[in-house]
Structure formats: structure tokens, C-alpha cells
Subunit: 279 residues, 2 copies
């Protein structure tokens, strides 16, 4: 599993880098970003936060706009930001911003033409961490977080793999894709019309039935333009309450769906994960 | 002087906004961004830092990538980020990224076709502050800062108008445009071939002869790809030494010309200005 360094920028005493690699899960060339805190220069290994971005994003949006490196440097935490879908001329796509490239929804597609490349679930849960842990000075202690589509991806992946993550957090997640337009469009395309198959990829369904529990935090702005139709955090909250799941849901007056919201509270999320990662 | 609100995002308890307005200095429609810290909600007026961006930037780059809002909120400082040139189909342009739209160099052009719109010096020193002070809860206490072309613009404008600014700072400024390719290309186009006219717009020339002095800080990464050919901070440093000008020049090992560098040290710049603005 060879990786190719594409960029390196010093940032808060550490290093923000991009790498390219051939993905076997996705059957295409992929790019990811990684932030390594200054601590690694002394040979120390650090835990990793995986950040899953939202619709239309690449590996760059979070690293450029969230301002996360400051606290990651201070806490001694690496951050890995993968792309949001397979990419390339050979990869199926759609004209909408909410399906196809930039909109992988972190599932393993079973339907043509998507099933040839769209296996983001396997990529995030298995291939990418193996690559990271083989190539960088990190431990196998992981946390996972994300925004919107990626906030849902983080919750869904953590709920299905509680042994692999110490904690999970999300900004403005699509909380219940079974019951919103973005989720229904993507899941019907990637998984087919039988909604039984969708349930394994729905964080609200999973949170209601999960036996193993890890600390979860969600932050939601109440001026978010997608709140009522697409995000529905009350569904996730009801699932947590029904199953006594340790979910902290923080609502914030006046904040919207943008990176201005993420930047305002990323420090709180990083401190939340650091606490559970023993930093 | 009416202004039109184009966007509003809550950020660190304050508000990141964009406005459009007709500029008389530039003879076209312009857009700027402003960050207002939470303190203004209680009716208090705050001082303003003007941020001048570099080549190719708009009013958005700094507000999205520098992570400045956190400290501006804490310190109680407004930030105004103008665009880097006049804009529009009617405005002269060039195929290069370093001339024309996105590359106004903060001068008043005297040569055709540029002289019809390119009066960024007047816009930044006069029209924009009047607009800001008439429309927002700010005081007339100002500081000015910038990056690269905008770092030079901030130094040059502060050196020519020391009574208007309490302090000035720059990241990776083009320190001596008379003697580098970017500066020579832009100044010859905007001001003509007589280099005598260029000297009023060169920070190293101005710092060597300035009588009034305000606190100045420059930060420069030593892995900056433009350092030797375009930036030449040693010229500015020599001018400051020759004139006993209060310039702090901070060099940083391993940092480049990107916003990763700016983000890493923006807190230090905002604290520098806050100290001189009495915050």
C-alpha cells in the first residue's frame, strides 16, 4: 500500500499533508489529508481523529476552513480527512450535488452503476485506517467525527464499529437518512428500493438498537437552513433516549450549516475526543 | 452610500457578513466582508482591523481560512476584508494572475486602461473606512494588516497615513516592489515606466524616509517559495534599521506562503494590534 506525498504545509508547529494512493476498496486513485501535530517530531505516536466531510467536499474543506489544527497541535492529536467519494473520469457520477462524486454517503453501494466504486464504508472503516496506521506515527486509538452527510457517516460508522472508536461527534448531521430527501435519494440509488437494506446505514435506527455504547456528541445550529427537512436531530435524540445512549446534543442559537459554525465549536469537539482518547 | 447585505453567518458568537456597494473611487460594484465581535450586541463600538489580501484573493479567503474570528471575538475587534481590485465585465483585466482583477496592488493607477477603475489606494484609505464608520458600530480607531501583495499594501498605506492607523502588520509582504518581478510588472502597468512615480508605493522606500512612526510587525516563513525573488524582507529590515523604525521582523522555520502560515500566527498579530488599539 504505497502512498504518494502531494503537499506539505507547516501548520501550528505540525504538518498538514496530502497524499495520493490507489484504493482497492474504491477501485480508483484517492487523495486524503492528514494533520500531524508537533509532538510526532520527537518520535511519539499520537491517536487519530477521522473527519468525514459533507456533500460536495473534498479532503481540503475541513483542513482549510475549520481551524482545527491549533487545538490538534496543542492536544497532540492527528486528524485524517478523506475525500467524500471515489473520484475520476471512470467513476459513475450524477448531475446533482447530492449524488455521485462528492456524495458517497459512506455506504457500500450494491446497485449498478454505483457498486463498481462506491464502497466508502469499507474504505473508511478498514482500508484507510490500515493505510494510516502503516505509514504514519499514530496509535490504533481512533475517534471519528464529521459534518452533515459526514456527521451522519461518523455516527453510523461508530455505531456499527464501537470497538474501533473511543468517541464520535457530529456537526449538523443528517440524523435519519431513511426519512429525508437527501438520504432517500442517495440510499435508493446506492442500495436499491428495498428500505430494509437502508436500515444498517441509518444512525437513528442504529442508535436505538445499539448494545455497545461509546460517548457521542452532536452540535446543531438552530438557524441551519437544512434543519427541519434534512437533519432532524430530534429523531436521533429520541433514539438515544429510548436506548439510554450517551448522546450529548448541543443546540446553538443563530448558527447555520456552514464552516463558520464548525470553526466556532471545533475546539469543544477536539477536547471531547481528547478526553476519551486519554490525552 | 448605501450598502446591501449579501450574507450573514454567526461565528464565535459574533457575525461574519458580506456587503455589496457602489464604489465611487473604483467606479464599479464592490463587495467586502466584515466580522463583528459579540461585544457589539451590547451596543458597544469596537476598533477595526483592515485586512488586505494577496494576489487572486477576494473578500472571502481570509475570512474562510485564517481562523481570525476566534481571537477577534475574544478581543472585541472588528475585521474588514475588502476585495483585492475593482471587479466586473467593464473593468480592465489581464490574463496573468498578477495583474488586473485580483491584483490591484492597492495603488491609484495613472495609465490607461487601468486608470478608469484601479484606484484601490483611495478606496482603502478613504472610501471604505468612511463606509464602515457610517454603517457599523465601530470607532475611528484603526489598524491595518495583510498578506503578500496585501502585506505590502498594509505597510505602504500605514507608512503614508500614520495618523490613520495605530499599528500595522504583514505576513510575507512583497517588501520592495520596485525590485521584484511582481512589483515591476504591476507598477509599470498601473503607473507607467517612470520609476519615480513608483517610489510613493514602495514600503521599503517609505520606511527608510518616514518621520512619523507606528508599531509594525512582519512575519515571514523561511520555506516561502516566493521569499528570495519576490518578497525580500531584508530590504524592509535594512530600511527600518537605517531610520530607526519600530519594525519587529519574525522569521519562522519551515513555514511557507500559504494560509496555513497565516492561521498559525494570526493570534499573535491580533494581540499585537489589540495592544496598540488599547483593547
Amino acid at each position: 500500500m504505497s502512498i504518494e506525498n502531494l503537499s506539505c504545509n507547516k501548520s501550528f508547529g505540525g504538518w498538514n499533508k496530502q497524499y495520493g494512493h490507489d484504493s482497492s476498496a474504491l477501485n480508483c486513485r484517492m487523495r486524503f489529508a492528514i494533520y500531524l501535530p508537533p509532538k510526532v517530531a520527537s518520535g511519539e505516536r499520537v491517536p487519530v481523529l477521522y473527519w468525514l466531510s459533507g456533500l460536495t467536499c473534498t479532503d481540503e474543506n475541513f483542513m482549510h476552513k475549520a481551524g482545527a489544527q491549533r487545538m490538534a497541535a496543542e492536544l497532540g492529536l492527528a486528524i485524517v480527512a478523506p475525500d467524500t467519494s471515489p473520484r475520476g473520469d471512470e467513476v459513475a457520477n450524477d448531475e446533482g450535488y447530492d449524488l455521485g462524486q462528492g456524495a458517497g454517503f459512506y455506504v457500500n453501494a450494491t446497485e449498478a452503476p454505483w457498486n463498481r466504486h462506491y464502497r466508502m464504508y469499507d474504505y473508511i472503516t478498514d482500508e484507510l485506517p490500515k493505510l494510516i496506521e502503516a505509514n504514519f506515527p499514530v496509535t490504533d486509538q481512533r475517534a471519528i467525527a464529521g459534518h452533515s452527510m459526514g456527521g451522519h457517516g461518523a455516527l453510523m460508522i461508530a455505531l456499527r464499529n464501537p470497538e474501533r472508536y473511543r468517541s464520535v461527534s457530529a456537526f449538523s448531521p443528517i440524523s435519519n437518512p431513511l426519512n429525508c430527501p437527501w438520504g432517500q435519494k442517495a440510499l435508493s440509488a446506492y442500495l436499491g428500493s428495498d428500505q430494509a437494506a437502508w436500515r444498517d446505514y441509518d444512525a437513528s435506527v442504529l442508535m436505538r438498537q445499539s448494545e455497545a455504547k461509546i460517548p457521542a456528541r452532536v452540535d446543531q445550529g438552530d438557524d441551519d437552513e437544512f434543519l427541519a427537512e434534512q437533519l432532524k436531530p430530534e429523531t436521533l435524540e429520541a433514539a438515544a433516549n429510548a436506548n439510554d445512549y450517551p448522546l450529548e446534543l448541543h443546540r446553538h442559537s443563530g448558527y447555520d450549516h456552514s464552516y463558520f459554525f464548525i470553526a466556532s465549536f471545533i475546539e469543544a469537539h477536539l477536547r471531547f475526543h481528547a478526553g476519551h482518547l486519554g490525552l
